[in-house]
């Protein structure tokens, strides 16, 4: 980094990086190949089964034989084999499967259960000591633990006991001051479990107004309370709290999030409609409006198209049956669908691509890419052609595109366009090098030949002669060019 200023300028302005060198990739590949050959050539001297005698044994699924997860499967399986009775009851598929996405124990993981009935109303009931034996290894045992027989604990001691997983009645703290002291000690202990325990007690014994007011000046406790309400799905109280705190955007997002759990599309639409009046930020508000408008349309389009498909009279649905419903699909997917099934519709209909483009202010590029892909998929090459020429308002016959022709060729090729279509667009790629490499890749011989001719490069043309079919039209064309006396070759 001790470069001169000028050097540096130049460096920042260039965007070529040689890092993660790809230059010597051949070399690298050869080395990998060497290694592969060596591996293959060392013939096992003993049977493969003894291969891993000295290392851990690994079953095919890869678990070392004897590892816990392997053994769980093994013993469970053997159990099923030996016992006739259906040992593992078949679990209906809608049983909530255990999420593996979270580990550890945290607020978020504490409450994920189905809340049944009262929300831990009896929480502060003390557990009988006998059923609860503390298991703490010697090295972590703080000396305060030996005071177990005392029963009149201060707020601080109470928190310590809770932290150690022991009983400590909270009911004896009756005054607001004591309760807040309890909360403050819990917060300074940083143990989420204990903070939540105290909060539940406070929630039960304080009026909402007092609780909200006190939480406002205790941000950590407040965050834990919000989390607790979220996890126990106490949406009503949570929204009340957030409103009381003036956190309107959070209220809006939280409410909006609920739409995810509404399966019925009409109910979902109505719910989204009710979200429109929520105090979102300006930009989110526009997005939510679009979300509602989109679903509303999808419901109409879906109903109409399903009927058309069943009726069996509309050709396109017969030729290309719909794979899935369009409901709840993203906007661009919906646009693609409409470009596929409703391309020629007048701008007045809900399913007209142009109407969708306007309503949702889809960028020119996005619209173009989507329409191109949809029409190419249908092999409607005339439509594809028109996409480019229609924007030719100056009367030129040249094709224009908001997208580089390189990308256009990519999209067409992915939709298996034939060479004769591809070459029209390969020919429009401006940079000669890119054009030639694309043309070679897609076997657009004419373009390669013409480009070499324009470059007056006799050698390259001669070289290319070997790559076209013998006696083919391309070969004849090359020969004609090579024999053409009027071309002044540069080599």
């Amino acid at each position: 980094m001790t470069k001169s200023k000028a050097d540096e300028e130049e460096y920042w302005n260039s965007s070529k990086f040689k890092a993660f060198t790809f230059d010597d990739e051949d070399d690298e590949l050869i080395r990998l190949k060497e290694s592969r050959q060596a591996v293959n050539s060392i013939r096992p001297l003993v049977d493969e089964d003894d291969d891993e005698d000295d290392v851990e044994k690994v079953s095919w699924s890869g678990e070392p034989v004897g590892s816990i997860s392997w053994s769980v499967k093994e013993t469970a399986a053997s159990n099923q084999r030996t016992d006739r009775e259906p040992a593992f009851p078949k679990i209906p598929t809608d049983t909530p499967s255990l999420s593996k996405s979270q580990s550890g124990y945290s607020l978020s993981s504490l409450f994920k259960g189905k809340t049944k009935g009262g929300n831990f109303q009896s929480f502060t009931d003390t557990f009988s000591e006998s059923s609860v034996r503390l298991y703490a290894p010697e090295l972590r045992k703080p000396k305060s633990e030996y005071k177990d027989y005392v029963s009149d604990w201060s707020p601080e001691e109470t928190i310590q006991r809770l932290q150690q997983g022991k009983t400590a009645p909270l009911e004896k703290f009756r005054s607001l001051q004591d309760k807040l002291l309890l909360l403050d000690f819990a917060v300074s202990a940083h143990d989420g479990n204990v903070i939540t325990a105290v909060l539940i007690y406070l929630k039960r014994t304080l009026s909402k107004e007092v609780l909200f007011r006190e939480l406002e000046s205790r941000q950590t406790a407040l965050r834990h309370f919000i989390h607790y309400l979220t996890e126990t799905k106490d949406q009503r109280l949570l929204l009340e709290l957030l409103r009381a705190l003036g956190r309107t955007e959070d209220v809006a997002l939280l409410q909006y999030k609920e739409h995810l759990s509404i399966a019925d599309e009409n109910k979902r639409r109505d719910f989204l409609k009710s979200c429109l009046s929520l105090p979102f930020s300006a930009e989110d508000s526009a997005h939510v409006q679009d979300h509602y408008t989109l679903l509303e349309r999808q419901i109409i389009i879906e109903a109409t198209d399903r009927q058309a498909e069943r009726g069996g009279k509309v050709e396109i649905f017969q030729k290309f049956p719909r794979r899935a419903s369009i409901l709840n699909m993203p906007l661009i997917t919906t646009l693609y669908y409409c470009c596929f099934y409703h391309y020629t519709e007048a701008e007045g209909t809900y399913s007209s691509p142009l109407n969708i483009r306007q309503t949702f202010k889809i960028s020119e590029k996005q619209y173009f890419v989507t329409a191109l892909a949809a029409r190419a998929k249908l092999k409607a090459w005339l439509d594809v052609d028109a996409l480019f020429t229609s924007r030719n308002w100056l009367g030129f016959t040249r094709k224009k595109s908001p997208l580089s022709f390189h990308r256009v060729v990519d999209i067409l090729q992915k939709n298996s366009a034939p060479t004769r279509v591809l070459q029209d667009y390969v020919g429009l790629v401006e940079d000669p090098d890119t054009r030639i490499s694309l043309a070679q890749k897609h076997k657009c011989h004419d373009i390669v030949i013409n480009t070499y001719r324009d470059m007056k490069d006799r050698q390259l043309l001669l070289g290319y002669r070997g790559k076209v079919g013998r006696g083919s039209a391309e070969e004849r064309k090359i020969d004609e060019l090579l024999n053409n006396q009027q071309i002044r070759w540069k080599n």
Partner: protein, 600 residues
């Protein structure tokens, strides 16, 4: 079995042994034959501590996965549930216990909570009316799990989200507890440094806990000289970049979970000689990856571009070793050769595996898509055009590339530009919502809360200053024979590791300005040692630092720290601890709302 844990500077096997001892003690409390019912998530982390054989020695005869309904029958005296303290698991346990009572009556029930008991869970069991059925309710404190000879992980996936989005500091509490355990085994760590709000919290808790233990002096000679606590949000950039070390790429492409990776099976089919190639296996090939495997230990931290050469060198050595058999003439020589065979066979199969993996990765790293993506990342990291809409990102959205890939790039641009211009941010958001669905408003909001995506608030962009001061971009990164940590990202030196490096020499005082630009406080604390425990350092003896990444660390960062440990003149050895091993994809995913709904 876990010898590789004791090879390092600090013998982490002590920690593992302590954990095993506790496990045995608990098992012995439940006298008689037993069956364990597992919360499936725990089998991975537990696998790092114990094998089935240990459980078997303590009369564990059956093991099941926790599922609702009736428990499988097993002729044992004890049924032990190994579970995380989660309410939905309590409901399943209650169901198990209920249906059990009707059929058998003689079996005893126990619960082992990992890593902590939860009063709320016990309360739930009580509500369900089954709390009284349990003879033992215990906790098994598994905060820091030894992952490798120099690596500890809490395997706590949601730590970053909880800390920075939800402001839930429970994971920090466990971190502090884990560090206390560590100090109980390895001595008080005299010096604590930190950067970030979470780091400050953890240090505060540790000091407070130490006061609570006052009176019981820790008489162990300190193994660690320094603890460095680093918040992940001090360096949001590094996990977003594509890791380019061998291990990093395996994780980026296939995902390493609890030390295991699942790979497409095609490349691993073993064809025996004279045998027609049978049907290829369809199940993924699962491999364990750690430093117990000699070859893996050698190549894991290399830049991927240096792996081919290392493998081919190894291949030659092994081939030569096998050729030796032709020279073995006398009985003694033959005997000697045969005695080495098992080791050679293991080396051969290890070489075969890694050659296959390297081939799989090579297919991806040589693809155009990989190159284009990397080019854009490097442009951002060097500060090229970070203030405009990027055409490549635009194209990727138009092609509907995976959303996480898009988010990684957009966040990276935002971080490298100290926030995006409102116009640019709005454009990206709009394109993303239109293409992937409006419900991702929620995810975008999460990313903003976490600071990964934000509008530019001041016209001043700090990133170039940070980059230049800390030398985050090295132009001539040497991938084959590295002389700087920047080799792990082929040019980019991870910010987090630069901070670590500067702390060791010349000290953070030299970069005060930059530290102030990064979020959260930086601090230093000292813990008093009882007299007599002060180390008398031999001349030239290395110091040992424990670096704790709060909110996750990548394999490339680990590789960079290992590189620093091995540098001859660094004078410092690093042990690494983290809440979870992450990469850009798993990290972003943990910040999404309903990530499963977007996998298109």
């Amino acid at each position: 079995m876990a010898a590789h844990l004791s090879y390092g500077r600090v013998n982490l096997n002590i920690l593992r042994e302590a954990a095993r001892k506790e496990l045995r003690e608990f098992l012995d409390k439940c006298a008689g034959s037993k069956a364990i019912v597992w919360d499936e998530y725990l089998t991975g982390p537990f696998g790092l501590i114990a094998q089935y054989s240990l459980l078997k020695e303590h009369e564990v005869e059956k093991m099941f996965t926790l599922k609702s309904g009736r428990l499988p029958s097993a002729d044992v005296k004890n049924i032990i549930f190994f579970v995380r303290p989660r309410l939905e698991l309590m409901d399943i346990i209650a169901e198990n216990v209920f249906s059990e009572d009707k059929h058998h009556s003689s079996r005893d029930f126990h619960i082992l909570f990992v890593p902590r008991r939860s009063m709320l869970c016990e309360q739930r069991l009580k509500e369900q009316g089954v709390l009284g059925s349990f003879i033992n309710i215990d906790e098994y404190i598994l905060d820091l799990i030894p992952y490798d000879g120099d690596l500890l992980s809490m395997e706590y996936e949601s730590a970053f989200r909880e800390c920075y989005l939800e402001n839930d500091q429970t994971s920090l509490y466990h971190t502090a507890k884990g560090l206390m355990t560590l100090q109980a085994l390895y001595g008080t760590i005299p010096q604590i440094y930190g950067k970030g709000d979470c780091a400050r919290h953890v240090a505060n808790m540790m000091l407070r806990m130490k006061r609570e233990f006052a009176g019981t002096q820790n008489q162990i000679l300190p193994v660690f000289d320094t603890l460095l606590l680093l918040d992940r949000n001090v360096d949001l950039l590094t996990p977003l970049a594509t890791q380019l070390t061998y291990e990093g790429l395996i994780d980026e492409i296939y995902g390493i979970n609890n030390g295991y990776v699942k790979l497409p099976p095609e490349k691993f089919a073993q064809k025996k000689q004279g045998e027609a190639s049978k049907d290829l296996p369809t199940e993924p090939k699962k491999l364990q990856l750690n430093s117990a495997e000699e070859l893996y230990a050698e190549i894991r931290d290399k830049n991927f571009n240096a792996v081919g050469a290392a493998l081919s060198k190894k291949a030659k050595i092994i081939s030569a070793a096998f050729e030796e058999r032709h020279n073995a003439k006398t009985v003694g020589e033959i005997k000697q050769f045969v005695s080495q065979l098992p080791h050679m066979q293991a080396a051969r199969s290890s070489l075969a595996n890694h050659t296959s993996i390297a081939e799989l990765i090579k297919d991806i790293t040589t693809s155009e898509a990989f190159f284009d993506n990397l080019t854009v990342e490097q442009e951002f990291m060097t500060g090229v055009d970070t203030d405009k809409v990027n055409t490549y990102i635009e194209d990727c959205i138009a092609q509907k590339d995976p959303l996480i890939k898009i988010l990684r790039l957009v966040c990276m641009q935002s971080v490298c530009n100290n926030g995006l211009k409102q116009k640019v941010l709005d454009y990206y958001k709009r394109e993303i919502l239109q293409t992937y669905g409006y419900e991702h408003i929620l995810t975008l909001n999460n990313l903003e809360k976490g600071g990964l995506l934000k509008p530019q608030t001041s016209s001043r962009n700090n990133y170039p200053t940070i980059r230049k001061t800390l030398k985050l971009w090295m132009e001539d990164a040497n991938e084959q024979n590295p002389n700087d940590i920047s080799y792990v990202y082929s040019g980019y030196a991870p910010l987090s590791i630069r901070l670590t490096q500067v702390l060791a020499r010349p000290g953070w005082r030299s970069i005060e300005e930059v530290l102030k630009m990064l979020p959260g406080p930086h601090f230093e604390e000292r813990q008093q040692l009882p007299s007599g425990l002060h180390k008398k350092r031999q001349q030239g003896e290395n110091r040992t630092t424990l670096v704790f990444f709060l909110g996750g660390v990548t394999y490339a960062e680990i590789a960079a720290l290992r590189f620093l440990s091995q540098m001859e003149d660094s004078g410092m050895e690093y042990i690494i601890a983290t809440t979870k091993l992450v990469n850009g994809t798993t990290w972003i995913k943990s910040l999404m709302d309903r990530p499963e709904s977007q996998m298109t």
